[in-house]
């Protein structure tokens, strides 16, 4: 899981793009995903995200994440299909009965939801995989005018994910070694059974946070105006692509206003 949110270094066109362009693309995907709910439009969006991932040569690295997300997507699909009961009934979830009907519209609407979820999350993952964190922080602060503290929080959260996953593994090993079991319990017991892992994790996290804060203090954090080591340069390709995205966005909004893309 940690690998999904880490920067993966490859020499691709996408990697060479400025962080601004990529962040803009992720936002663009988000807006498009929310604009439409026609399954065809959303599937097209998903395909476009996968194509970008392929162009960035990170598709293979993201396969485990995609696999995991697909499970959620399937659940989302089923839930949506159950609640959407317009149209013709295709089958019943409980076979040979009349309970829990699943309709064709239901399925298509479910597909739309799943495609939307996958597009949004994957675009974000592609962004993280192709952009160095410090470049993102720089862009967020300079171009998107985010206060540095927030961008910094974002950066350190990402940086600490692998660390905390490591801690969770160690804590759960330690508790297992004392006979603690998480598997095979009813839901209520299961929730309580997470306490031996979550409590030490929270305490350790607070401790690490304090240590990190001290380290930051002794390296001059908060001491006035900040400069940046690496610059963020926008090149021809960046401007061109941003313009294309803007155009597509305009087209998309127009289409939506005209009533296209909704079921």
């Amino acid at each position: 899981m940690a690998a999904a949110v880490e920067y993966i270094h490859k020499d691709s066109l996408i990697h060479r793009l400025n962080a601004t362009t990529k962040i803009f693309w992720a936002l663009f995907t988000l807006v498009c995903g929310l604009l439409f709910n026609d399954y065809r439009y959303l599937l097209a969006l998903l395909v476009s995200v996968l194509l970008v991932a392929a162009a960035a040569r990170v598709l293979r690295n993201l396969l485990p994440a995609i696999a995991g997300l697909s499970v959620f997507a399937l659940i989302l699909l089923l839930i949506q299909a159950l609640f959407f009961d317009q149209g013709q009934v295709v089958f019943h979830l409980i076979p040979k009965t009349n309970y829990l009907p699943v309709t064709n519209y239901g399925i298509l609407s479910g597909v739309a939801m799943a495609a939307r979820m996958l597009s949004l999350v994957l675009s974000f993952l592609v962004l993280l995989a192709t952009t160095r964190i410090q470049d993102m922080v720089l862009t967020l602060v300079e171009k998107f005018k985010m206060p540095y503290d927030y961008a910094f929080m974002f950066m350190t959260t990402l940086r600490f994910i692998p660390t905390f996953l490591g801690e969770v593994r160690q804590i759960s090993d330690a508790q297992k070694a004392r006979g603690h079991a998480v598997e095979g319990l009813n839901p209520f017991k299961k929730i309580r059974s997470y306490a031996p892992v979550t409590v030490p994790l929270v305490l350790i996290s607070l401790n690490k946070a304090e240590n990190m804060a001290m380290a930051m203090e002794t390296r001059g954090y908060g001491g006035g105006r900040r400069t940046y080591f690496r610059e963020s340069k926008m090149r021809g390709t960046d401007y061109f692509l941003t313009a294309v995205l803007l155009l597509l966005l305009a087209l998309g909004v127009t289409a939506r206003v005209k009533g296209l893309g909704i079921m």
């Binding site: 964190i133 950066m155 380290a215 002794t218 080591f229």
Partner: protein, 280 residues
């Protein structure tokens, strides 16, 4: 002029019954390599925090007495200002690393202080060179070994070009290889760059081999202050306090050694000494 001076310094944590540091007096010259040791809870970390601005800026409490850096009172300075004079390296290699890339990690402190990019480049290259990790420049920090992480931490402190390098049990979580790496670099920085080193450690064998002066802190007080042989000569006291004595020095003490020439601090020194004893 002393680079660091502590005069009658007493400090208590908020709502504490007893002071954590009691009437500390210390004078440190430029270029010294000082090892600080003592049992857990003696006040070593508290002392370090008073020298790098954590106390009082990050952690409150009551203090009396004075601390001077280059003749100027430390309490008039912000932690940002102090960070240019005192570079800190802490115990947990994981928690003091802020970025996922080594180069960015080194740039962090410099960015905070508002240096121009050209100057940053110079300092980053220099710091990487001094700690022997130029080849790690573009690596991810997360995948590094403990020893490498601590070297990165030292490089980050060095990038600020401090006069004093202050380290709090930097090798506690490291294996013998990592420990040796850290001490080698500290020795080199001290000898070649003239950086004043203050390192808190439990590993007295390393301190004996590298430090020119040893301080023993116990229950908030500075109970010993001298050259390694002077400190390790007081063996009964050290055992009562709970400070480990290097094995060869303890042996020499048992054989009656009590001065500079009869209290070896390293295996090699001990070998030469014993050979001489046996021959006589």
């Amino acid at each position: 002029m002393a680079v660091l001076e502590i005069k009658n310094f007493t400090f208590s944590y908020p709502q504490a019954l007893r002071p954590a540091l009691n009437d500390i007096n210390l004078s440190v010259e430029k270029g010294e390599f000082i090892g600080i040791t003592g049992p857990t809870g003696a006040g070593k970390t508290t002392l370090a925090c008073c020298l790098n601005g954590i106390i009082p800026h990050f952690q409150g409490g009551e203090a009396t007495g004075r601390i001077f850096l280059h003749g100027l009172s430390i309490f008039n300075k912000s932690t940002a200002q102090i960070s240019r004079l005192v570079g800190s390296v802490f115990q947990d290699p994981e928690a003091q690393i802020i970025s996922s890339e080594v180069e960015q990690e080194l740039a962090f402190g410099l960015e905070n202080l508002g240096f121009p990019p050209g100057e940053m480049e110079k300092r980053i290259s220099e710091a990487l060179e001094l700690t022997g990790i130029s080849d790690l420049r573009y690596r991810s920090t997360i995948a590094l070994s403990g020893g490498q992480k601590q070297r990165v931490a030292i490089a980050c402190a060095l990038a600020m070009r401090p006069e004093i390098l202050l380290l709090d049990e930097p090798t506690s979580e490291l294996d013998p290889v990592g420990t040796e790496e850290v001490f080698q670099i500290l020795g080199r920085l001290n000898r070649e760059q003239g950086i004043t080193v203050l390192v808190i450690e439990q590993k007295t064998e390393q301190l004996a081999a590298h430090a020119g002066r040893i301080l023993v802190v116990n229950e908030g007080a500075l109970v010993m202050d001298g050259e390694p042989w002077q400190v390790f000569a007081r063996q009964k006291e050290l055992q009562a306090i709970g400070v480990r004595i290097p094995q060869v020095t303890r042996l020499a003490g048992m054989l009656g050694g009590s001065d500079k020439y009869s209290l070896p601090l390293t295996v090699e020194q001990a070998r030469i000494y014993i050979e001489r004893l046996v021959r006589s």
